[in-house]
């Protein structure tokens, strides 16, 4: 439950980034992928980076911002 809540929180945060140049926030599907990775024993930071940040953008600055968010939540 805790993990799911954190992922939802992260998803909400990414959706606030629309004005910053992110096309769209993290979809439910991406969040679920990240959750599966974390469940199977992968570090949350790495899991979110792989399953959420990288698929969303390849812009360096946005990536740094997204990573900062992941760090904030986990």
């Amino acid at each position: 439950v805790d993990l799911a809540q954190n992922l939802v929180r992260l998803g909400r945060m990414t959706r606030n980034l629309k004005d910053q140049g992110l096309q769209e926030g993290a979809s439910t599907r991406l969040l679920i992928h990240a959750g599966k990775l974390i469940r199977s024993g992968i570090e949350p930071l790495l899991a979110c980076d792989t399953a959420i940040c990288q698929p969303l953008t390849d812009d360096e600055e946005l990536l740094a911002g997204l990573k900062e968010m992941v760090r904030a939540v986990f």
């Binding site: 929180r9 980034l17 946005l62 740094a64 911002g65 939540v73």
Partner: protein
């Protein structure tokens, strides 16, 4: 090597007078040009005075290098900052730093290079090992996104010494070297940002004034509570009772218990950061054990809410411990604790208590109120629009229903809803809250048959919640306005302008324009800021005097200009027309008899000839027009505007002046379409010499003005007394080339620029700027008033 200024000061003081003279002499040797005055050199001596003796030599050598190879201005900004840079660098490293600055100049121009020199805290980091300061610029790029994510708003960062927020901007110190490690300084920025975002997200400053009134019944609350913003209003009112207490900081401190608790619960990473920073703070300074209630609260925060509270009263302790256990999303507990603490005497402890917890900062009540008002206006508008849209859709749906079944229409009377029904439905929507099933969304409106999209309802509910947080309830006029909007009575624009006073009161506005740098053959983007303002009028009989003095000339002008005003003109020698042209007929007849082939153009045609001209007079108001030149220009303006009234062309008069690229001024004397009223005459009287002549931005701004006017012929007529020049590098060829570029841009927009000048040397540069034939030189100032209307007449007919 770390050379502190304190130790160097001792070395330099005893022999100060001699040393200063020597320094001044050395600098004069370097800067011996007429562009740099002695006062600048004195300033520079002031910058360098503090340096120890062994550093003076190398620094002067670098100054010489910069001034000699690049630019005097850059050398000055180097001298201004060299003392700070030497805190982080030794002499060798300084040389590398300067080399980097020079290569920035080569690559990107003067301004970036000056910026490089002006923030040594940041730019020296790569060159010296002693600098571990973090800067807001570095932090902001990654923190901005965190801030947007956390707060849900578009947050920007600005520099201020004390951290604070006005709910849309976060203010943080420009550079920070609290800790010996860069990572730790960045941590401080991160925690401060998260703290401010939490203040925004968890409504530190938003609480309905009506509820506050019941908590603080003893305060003199204004009658119209709906207009005020709860927390700022409360603090303002309390200031009357506790004038010496830093209430803003106290409030932020207390609220920190609540918001940190929420942050730690919801955002584990941020919680880790906060705890890490607190540990650092505790290890850095010895914090004395608290001896009053405010210090105790600070200690409570610093110890992560674990210490028992001794100084607080029974009630206050309970509240604080409750907040420390689980922070709630409403600031009610903060306000209760605030009230308890105000009853005990706290005013001395606040500053010392806040010192270690520097990231908490304070709040600027005025700025906050402004933002909250703007936000409330926005919320109101959107709420009314969405509710209006929902109601309007509903009506359509209902009419259909009526035709189909004729059953559920008893709530509808001539297409409008009953106010009570809508209010009830709204209350249900907003309270429906977290239950997200579609049923609960549509049900509230079920009995009045609405076709509602789920998305719209979600947004309406969100907005309704925010409004209730802010005001305490949804004001009834929101609902009635929305109903009016749905039936087409309400005009949202009217109400917004009525409620937002800040727009009406602003009397000037800012515009930015690029500037042409001919050395790089490229524009400097957003380089100049121009401030447009209405010129100050001056009372006096100047205009009347001019009219009396030049009565004869005015009569002539009237005749001349009324003549060219005629709306009809007759074209002679046309192939076809309404009547025979006697002259050409006679000629043709004679030709025929002389056995020459006669002309076929035998008719006169009456032609409707509209003078569709818009002209913008741009008046140079630089200091050099002081005295009779300015008077002559003003006289010609009076005569010109009278002539324009006779001829009926559209015209506007603007003045320009200013100093430096960020301080260009643009004075509105008469706008297009404005009458030649007493006010305009007063403004003409009030034209007075000001600063410099930076022509480029003024011409660009005039071009923008002319673009908005509709006319067949557009003329930009400049009245000037000399070449363009400004206080900074805007001189000589640079200024002339930029002005030329601005004029070329005007021509591309179909505007015809023309210049009337009294500068006798103008032949050297005016042909280059305006092109041959597009300027007139009036060598005798006393004839200016005679020549200017005449030139205009010839120019336009």
């Amino acid at each position: 090597m770390n050379q502190g200024p304190a130790s160097s000061h001792k070395e330099s003081c005893p022999r100060a007078p001699n040393r200063e003279k020597a320094l001044e002499q050395a600098l004069l040797n370097i800067f011996f040009t007429d562009t740099i005055g002695t006062c600048h050199v004195e300033n520079a001596v002031e910058f360098l005075r503090q340096l120890p003796n062994h550093q003076i030599g190398p620094v002067l050598r670098l100054v010489k290098l910069i001034a000699g190879s690049v630019s005097d201005l850059l050398a000055f900004s180097f001298m201004e900052n060299v003392e700070k840079a030497l805190k982080f660098l030794n002499v060798d490293e300084l040389e590398a730093w300067v080399a980097e600055g020079l290569s920035i100049y080569e690559a990107r121009g003067l301004q970036p290079a000056r910026e490089f020199f002006s923030s040594p805290e940041v730019t020296t980091r790569r060159f010296g090992s002693d600098n571990q300061a973090a800067s807001i610029e570095e932090a902001a790029s990654s923190l901005r996104m965190l801030a947007c994510g956390l707060s849900g708003r578009n947050i920007s960062f600005k520099v201020a010494s004390v951290p604070s927020t006005d709910t849309e901007t976060i203010f943080l110190p420009g550079t920070l070297c609290l800790f010996p490690d860069l990572e730790q300084n960045m941590l401080w920025y991160r925690v401060a940002t998260a703290h401010k975002c939490a203040q925004i997200r968890y409504n530190t400053f938003v609480f309905p004034a009506i509820r506050l009134k019941s908590l603080f019944p003893e305060l003199p609350w204004p009658r119209d509570l709906e207009k005020g913003h709860g927390i700022p209003l409360l603090i303002k009112l309390l200031k009357g009772k506790h004038p010496d207490t830093d209430l803003e900081s106290l409030f932020c401190l207390i609220d920190t218990i609540r918001i940190e608790r929420i942050l730690c619960r919801k955002f584990k990473g941020i919680g880790r950061d906060i705890r890490g920073l607190k540990k650092l703070i505790a290890s850095k300074a010895l914090i004395p054990s608290p001896d009053n209630s405010v210090q105790e609260i600070a200690r409570y925060i610093l110890d992560d809410f674990s210490q028992p509270l001794k100084f607080l009263g029974q009630k206050a302790r309970e509240i604080a411990e409750n907040m420390g256990k689980r922070g709630k999303e409403s600031p009610l507990e903060t306000i209760l604790l605030f009230r308890e603490l105000l009853d005990s005497d706290v005013k001395d402890g606040i500053q010392s208590a806040l010192k270690p917890l520097s990231y908490i900062g304070s709040v600027n009540i005025e700025a906050l109120e402004k933002r909250l008002t703007a936000r409330r206006t926005r919320l109101e508008k959107r709420f009314i629009e969405i509710l209006g849209a929902i109601l309007a859709n509903g009506r359509v749906m209902d009419v259909k229903k009526e035709q189909d079944t004729d059953a559920s229409s008893n709530k509808m009377e001539t297409g409008a809803f009953c106010l009570d029904d809508v209010n009830k439905a709204l209350a249900m929507i907003i309270q429906a809250g977290s239950k997200n099933s579609d049923d609960s969304l549509v049900q509230p409106f079920a009995h009045i048959q609405l076709d509602i999209k789920k998305e719209l309802l979600d947004r309406l509910r969100q907005l309704g919640k925010e409004i209730i947080q802010d005001i305490g309830h949804v004001p009834s006029f929101y609902v009635s306005s929305a109903m009016d909007l749905a039936t087409g009575i309400y005009d949202p624009k009217l109400s917004i302008e009525g409620t937002d006073g800040s727009q009406a009161s602003s009397t000037f506005s800012f515009f930015t324009y690029p500037e042409w740098d001919f050395r790089r053959q490229d524009y400097r983007l957003k380089w100049c800021t121009i401030k447009e303002m209405t010129a100050k009028g001056a009372s006096g009989s100047f205009v009347q005097d001019v009219i009396r003095r030049y009565r004869g000339q005015i009569n002539n002008l009237r005749r001349q200009f009324e003549m060219i005003r005629q709306d009809h003109s007759v074209l002679k020698r046309q192939k076809e027309g309404q009547e025979i042209d006697i002259d050409s007929f006679v000629e043709a007849y004679a030709d025929l008899h002389a056995h020459l082939s006669p002309s076929e153009n035998l008719y006169r045609r009456l032609c409707l000839n509209r003078r569709d001209i818009a002209v913008l007079f741009l008046v140079d108001m630089s200091a050099s027009t002081e005295g009779w030149i300015s008077t002559a220009i003003k006289e010609s303006l009076v005569l010109l505007s009278l002539s324009m009234e006779y001829v009926g062309d559209q015209y506007a008069i603007f003045g320009f002046s200013g100093m430096r690229r960020t301080g260009c001024q643009y004075f509105v004397i008469k706008e297009f379409g404005e009458r030649l009223s007493e006010e305009v005459k007063e403004r003409i009287t009030g034209i007075a010499p000001r600063d410099y002549t930076r022509m480029g931005p003024a011409i660009r701004h005039s071009t923008e003005k002319l673009k908005k006017v509709e006319a067949r012929v557009k003329i930009l007529l400049t009245l000037s007394d000399g070449k363009p020049e400004d206080y900074d590098e805007y001189k000589g060829p640079y200024a002339i080339e930029d002005t030329r570029m601005a004029l070329m841009e005007a021509r591309q927009q179909g505007i015809k620029p023309f210049c009337i000048t009294i500068d006798k040397e103008a032949r050297e540069y005016l042909p280059r700027m305006y092109g041959r034939g597009n300027y007139v030189l009036v060598p005798e100032v006393r004839l200016l008033h005679k020549r200017v209307p005449e030139i205009y007449r010839v120019l336009t007919s």
